[in-house]
């Protein structure tokens, strides 16, 4: 739905009889996801969905209703009546805030001008990747997905925002007789060359990962490739980077005044590596928010209520995460490491201790020993238990941020981290 179509639909909904304040959020997606394994397409799904969410506010009461039939005028009318009917029964909540009423310009940071990719083209690209795996005698399994989306917001205080955007996701696991490799391409666009480049990286990683040997788990220097860094930092962000929890003593950053290394950690919809939509689901503009400035903690996620109550700036939940890097190449990170482990990716990261921002997880799909500045052999995957506060403090070098993240858009560098705690062996 383009800006004009969204504006017309939202205006027609806001014109429906209602008391109090009404916020309207429209989301639409058209996404083809082609999944393959054992060098054959196993799943091919086209998702075409739209959601209309209505938020009603009556003074300090607020409720929401969502439906998926955007062309059913009767259902929309009934839903507006329903959301206010339910709202009347809500108890008051002092934290409910009125709509902003801001009209935001169309910036479309994450909109790609490249042409739509046809179903047959995606199938052909997946087939070509499968052939490359078969030629190398390696099983390939992956997902190739590309979609276009739109989000539009309007409210009865006059607010309006609309953006179209794109999202591409290709990730592939190459599995040999005794070891596997992995690679991805993430971003707002994808081409056949991106698919094949990632496929070749996964195949190469797999070839180098065969017949891993045991490295007895111990604290050691690690080089974490960008996906591992992104998985860890995104978990840490959603677990720990909340201003209110900090202020109320429920955060690893309560009474915290240390500097966490020297990298900067921020969100920016206009980021050149992985841009995203530039407004939130309640119509707030998203600018650049810095969470760590050269390692120094800044104001964390702050909703409008907490900002208003404590005279703070509002820092809404972001759509992407970026960790700065110093641009050292992966080869140079390896060359500077005498005794270490190179990690392609992490898996199943979970919190182990909220107070210290402690997490556990596994290495996966390409874990290698580094000795005297060279990758010497693959090692058996390992479990680790580590605090993100300590990881950030132990970074000694870093690469250039690249796009990563299947579940959240991120730009992350490879990191060289000292004293990383591996704790047990996997398979």
């Amino acid at each position: 739905m383009n800006r004009r179509q969204s504006q017309d639909l939202i205006a027609s909904i806001l014109d429906l009889p209602h008391e109090g304040e009404l916020q309207v959020l429209l989301n639409g997606v058209e996404r083809l996801g082609t999944r393959f394994n054992d060098c054959a397409i196993s799943q091919n799904v086209l998702k075409q969905q739209a959601t209309l969410t209505l938020n009603a506010r009556l003074e300090q009461k607020k409720t929401s209703v969502s439906i998926n039939a955007l062309d059913d005028q009767e259902l929309i009318k009934r839903s507006v009546e329903q959301v206010f009917a339910t709202c009347r029964h809500m108890p008051d909540d002092e934290e409910v805030m009125p709509a902003l009423g801001d009209v935001l310009p169309s910036r479309e940071h994450a909109f790609s001008e490249s042409k739509a990719i046809e179903i047959e083209t995606v199938g052909a690209w997946a087939a070509q990747a499968c052939k490359a795996g078969a030629a190398a005698g390696i099983d390939l399994a992956g997902l190739l997905a590309h979609g276009k989306m739109f989000t539009a917001y309007g409210d009865s205080a006059g607010g309006f925002a609309h953006e179209r955007y794109h999202r591409s996701d290709y990730h592939v696991t190459a599995t040999g007789t005794n070891g596997s490799g992995w690679a991805e391409h993430q971003g707002i666009s994808i081409a056949q060359s991106d698919v094949m480049a990632a496929t070749r990286r996964a195949i190469d990683k797999c070839a180098e990962a065969q017949n891993p040997v045991v490295f007895e788990p111990r604290p050691v220097t690690v080089i974490l490739e960008p996906q591992a860094v992104g998985d860890l930092m995104s978990m840490a962000f959603w677990y720990g980077f909340d201003q209110r929890a900090k202020d109320e003593g429920r955060s690893p950053f309560s009474d915290f005044d240390a500097t966490l290394g020297r990298l900067s950690f921020y969100s920016d919809p206009a980021d050149a590596v992985f841009p995203t939509i530039a407004f939130s689901s309640d119509g707030q503009a998203l600018g650049k928010s810095v969470w760590l400035d050269a390692g120094k903690l800044q104001q964390l996620l702050t909703n409008r209520y907490w900002a208003h109550k404590n005279d703070l700036a509002v820092k809404p939940a972001p759509n992407n995460l970026v960790l700065s890097g110093d641009g050292t190449s992966l080869d140079d990170l390896v060359r500077s490491t005498e005794d270490g482990i190179l990690v392609t990716r992490f898996w199943y990261i979970r919190s182990t201790d909220a107070r210290t921002l402690g997490f556990t997880g596994m290495t996966r799909d390409g874990t290698y020993r580094i000795e005297n500045g060279e990758v010497t052999h693959p090692v058996v995957d390992m479990r680790w238990n580590e605090s993100v506060l300590r990881v950030l403090g132990n970074i000694v070098a870093s690469g250039q941020p690249v796009a990563t993240g299947e579940f959240m858009s991120m730009a992350m560098p490879a990191l060289k981290v000292e004293d990383f705690h591996f704790s047990s062996l996997s398979n």
Binding site: N37, D38, N44, V45, S79, T352, S426
Partner: protein
Amino acid sequence: MFDLLKLACNTASKAGCQFADARYLSIRKQRVVSRDHALSSCSEGDDRGFGVRVLYQGAWGFAASPTYTADEIEKVVALAMRIARASALALRDGGVKWAPEAAFTLDFKSSCIQDPFRVALEDKAELLISANEVMLKNKSIKRAQGFLSFKHVERWYVNTEGSELHSDVTSSESAIWAIAVGNDDFQERNWKAPASNQGFECYRKEEFLNQAERVAAEAEEKLSARLSPEGDFDIITDSENLSLTIHESVGHATELDRVMGYEVSMAGSSFVTRDKQGDFRYGSDQVTLMADNTLENGLATQGFDDDGVPGQRWEIVRDGIFQTYSSGREFAHYIGEERSRGSCRADHWSSIPIVRIPNLFLMPGKTPLSPEALMSDVKHGLYFEGMDSFSIDQWRLNFQFGGNAVWEIKNGKKAGMLKAALYQSRTPTFWNACDATCDENYWQPHGVTNCGKGDPMQIAQMTHGAAPTRFRNIRICRGRDS
């Protein structure tokens, strides 16, 4: 409702499909969330649409739409056919091998005495806020929260074999939790009312208030708990804690699609390879793990799966020996079985069915055994209650789980709470260390409503269960440095 779905199947048949099925889903949801003395949100959703899956020349195509008209049916079938042709560009040897299933009709309805969507919002607010207020009476509690979540899914299914199926399932879920702050720390303690396919009748205010008082007191106690010891100890898990361990180390490990590599790119594969079927010692002879998609009020009990196969009950592990997998019609042939176990489900009308964990539980002990008697035979160990940190590798072998509350056991009795305790093991090592489980009087079901699998991710629900169970000599580590 069936007529348009039949039109979809007939259209696909005429176009030359080997098999096709069509599902229409109407999904209604409500989620009410409390924060301290208020409700922080009440969100409702109504989501309807249909999906058509076609098997054409050995390849799958799937497309879906929210617009349920004859014209749209024709378009969606054509789109699914076009996608199937694209899938055929990289076809497995001979294409999909589809297990037969006789046509049948079924109208399944889950038990729901009190429709949660007809219960006044004021009553839901009262239940949650009164529990929060009990928790907040404890001065260490700085945040009290809770939620009620309800889902009603009505599903119509038709396939080219002639099955006409309908289900009407209501699910309910709730939890409360408290965060205590003090002693240079903060700690969370929760209580989950077991999620199930039932209505609002499973929630009683008196139980919420009693649990709220306990939860607050134990959150406060966690603040001053000592750090867990490390080393090898006997452990006892309560039914909720073990439910998650069953889910991760048995449920996912025995999904046949995962074993065959269909999940390698995301959730991983499994150490339970096909050569292990029938003679692999998964656990001790105390361990019998039963799958049962007919379990009363079970979250995976929905009459039939999204391959059009009736719900079934089967043994995954019997007396410690691995028996067989959870499967769907596409996968049964890989293990020489002629029929699917009926465990393929989709989470939405726009999602394709994949093999999901069934209702799966550890059978209770056959001889009378109370939790007190179970603990009396532990000289120095740990007692894990509730779910907390959980992580397992992509083969479902190396795992590490915590508990929402953990106590030290000394000389057969609880001896104070511990902080940051985690048990770490390998799946067969762990289950072979099981030497006793309490009898059926202490067996409890627990629901999992956030099981993620597939790529793109689908979220499924199922019920697990166990009685308190003892494991000998398990590695204990800490999630926090001393």
